[in-house]
């Protein structure tokens, strides 16, 4: 069986403009490869092809790419899931391309940093060993802490495309909510103050692209809705 693959190529040191390059890969009948396997086999054919990857099992979030128009992790996306026909692989949209499928994620991390993604606790007398949580308090973090920062969600969000310097984006806001509802965190007001403007949170119009593409099955739109409710409740 032959696989037709079209890959976005751009080397700023050589190319004037990006272009799509077609490849063909011979695959054994009945074998369903992951897209990452396909890309690595093509890299053997053409060593100039650049991509990021590390764990190759959906944990590190390095190989986020756009496959047939939808963001996802190449390592856990089977070729069969992309349907029949040519596979088109592009870098994550909205982020500057460093080379081929490698994007510059500075904007993404800058927004992530803004939400102070760490526990803040101003307890004057911290417990001797650890901050305990009840099972119910801990359960509130489920569906939030699992984010691996692959940027599939933020780079599929038009609001992030248009205002990457001001809108935190779904990944950052998911983390923001993770700390807002953490019973051990005492900086809720400070965190909400930082988010209380016309762009950081309220540029989300709930189109749910983030939910549609999240490879971990998380729901950033719901978390953003909860942040909006928190901001609203303290304003009225």
């Amino acid at each position: 069986m032959k696989l037709d693959v079209s890959i976005y190529r751009y080397n700023p040191e050589v190319d004037d403009a990006p272009h799509m390059q077609d490849y063909q890969l011979e695959v054994e009948d009945g074998v369903d490869l992951m897209v990452l396997d396909v890309l690595l086999k093509l890299k053997e054919q053409d060593p100039t092809l650049s991509l990021r990857r590390s764990c190759r099992e959906g944990v590190c979030g390095s190989d986020g790419v756009n496959m047939n128009g939808k963001n996802g992790l190449a390592c856990i996306t089977p070729v069969s899931a992309l349907g029949k026909g040519k596979i088109v692989v592009r870098p994550l949209p909205g982020l500057p391309v460093v080379r081929d499928l490698v994007v510059d994620m500075t904007q993404f991390y800058t927004q992530y940093e803004k939400v102070k993604p760490f526990l803040i606790n101003d307890a004057r007398q911290p417990p001797a060993r650890e901050h305990l949580q009840s099972p119910e308090e801990r359960a509130k973090l489920d569906g939030l802490y699992e984010c691996i920062l692959c940027a599939c969600c933020s780079s599929s969000c038009p609001s992030f495309w248009w205002n990457p310097d001001k809108f935190i984006g779904p990944a950052g806001l998911l983390h923001a909510y993770r700390f807002l509802i953490d019973s051990r965190d005492t900086a809720t007001e400070e965190r909400l103050n930082d988010l209380d403007d016309a762009f950081s949170v309220f540029r989300c119009h709930s189109i749910m692209n983030c939910v549609s593409v999240c490879p971990k099955g998380l729901n950033p739109t719901k978390a953003i809705g909860q942040i909006k409710s928190m901001l609203l409740q303290r304003a009225v």
């Binding site: 038009p158 248009w162 205002n163 310097d165 209380d196 016309a198 762009f199 609203l232 304003a235």
Partner: protein, 115 residues
């Protein structure tokens, strides 16, 4: 680049609440008008004039026009800050769109109280 100064220090929560409350009023007016068109067999000038002659309908229509003005001001500011990056062009477009929305309210005011 969109700066806080260019957006006249807009308040996210206030915009969020304003957008939704005005949307409810606009939706209610739309439903009322749809109901009127469905239930009225023959729409004549008399029927039309009768609908808008009551004070309650005048106030409701005016409230809807004002809601549209507020909705346009916030909604299109959001759309324009997404797509128009030149501050001058965006400022001009915002001014024109706000002026049109305001004109609708003014004209509506005269039309309604002329019924």
């Amino acid at each position: 680049m969109v700066t806080n100064q260019a957006s006249v220090k807009r308040n996210g929560v206030q915009d969020y609440v304003s957008l939704r409350t005005t949307a409810v009023i606009i939706l209610a007016f739309t439903i009322l008008m749809t109901w009127f068109f469905i239930t009225t067999d023959n729409i004549t000038f008399t029927e039309w004039q009768g609908l808008f002659s009551g004070l309650a309908m005048k106030v409701f229509t005016l409230a809807t026009l004002i809601s549209i003005m507020i909705h346009v001001r916030i909604g299109l500011w959001q759309v324009l800050t997404d797509y128009i990056k030149s501050v001058k062009v965006r400022g001009l477009l915002q001014w024109i769109l706000n002026l049109i929305a305001f004109a609708y309210v003014l004209v509506g005011l005269f039309v309604l109280w002329g019924v």
